[in-house]
Amino acid sequence: MKVLYFAWLRERLNRASDEVTPPDSVRTLDDLVCWLRSNDEALDLAMANPRQFKLSKNARIVPWDTPIDGAETVAILPPMTGG
């Protein structure tokens, strides 16, 4: 599964994506974020205020409690500033 990072999150991590294989205990996107944070101090710090981020699964914004079944690409999206 590919995890994408954008904007200042990407800058802080110094990479735009990770290729990960989460354990079976990771069932939702929320679980995935917890697991990623527990394995990466920089990500854990950058996401200290987690609810400001939106998540996408296969290029669709979805709620945090969405199952990861079928997820090929998950993105962690800092607050958006387009328009």
Partner: protein
């Protein structure tokens, strides 16, 4: 029409083409967002990062919601990414309806959601460096007024 692109666009030509597509609509509202550089806060450029695939999907969903909610005849959304200099158009929203209030409401609805729910992130390039534009809580409030 939806376009998420790194290429410049011409606001006037797009309005002309959009209106020509629907010669029998009564009201068109066009919003054009441009790179702003003010004397008290001059910038050299605005750099927009984007997740294009997600942007296209989310904008398509928003467009469909706006058309249904306000009874629009059509709606078009264009959004650039990449490096833009002051005066360049960042994005444009166009709505067409039989009457003016629906066209205005549809355009404002789309703008309010695009500000907070479309995956674009702005960086300002100034003489002293480059910094990310912070999200604006007023934008969340503007979007939330459409909740029902």
């Amino acid at each position: 029409m939806i376009l998420v692109s790194a290429s410049p666009f011409d606001p006037g030509a797009l309005l002309a083409a959009f209106a020509a597509d629907h010669p029998h609509a009564g009201a068109a509202v066009t919003f054009t967002g441009m790179v702003r550089s003010s004397p008290d806060r001059p910038i050299n450029a605005l750099i927009l990062e984007c997740y294009p695939e997600l942007a296209e999907n989310e904008i398509a969903t928003l467009r469909g919601r706006a058309i249904e909610r306000f009874g629009l005849i059509d709606a078009a959304i264009l959004h650039r990414y990449g490096r833009l200099v002051p005066g360049e158009a960042i994005m444009q929203v166009m709505t067409l309806a039989a009457h003016r209030q629906a066209a205005f409401d549809g355009a404002q609805f789309l703008m309010d959601y695009l500000k907070t729910d479309a995956p674009f992130w702005k960086q300002e390039e100034t003489a002293s460096g480059t910094q990310w534009v912070e999200a604006n809580t007023a934008d969340d409030a503007a979007r939330d007024r459409w909740a029902k």
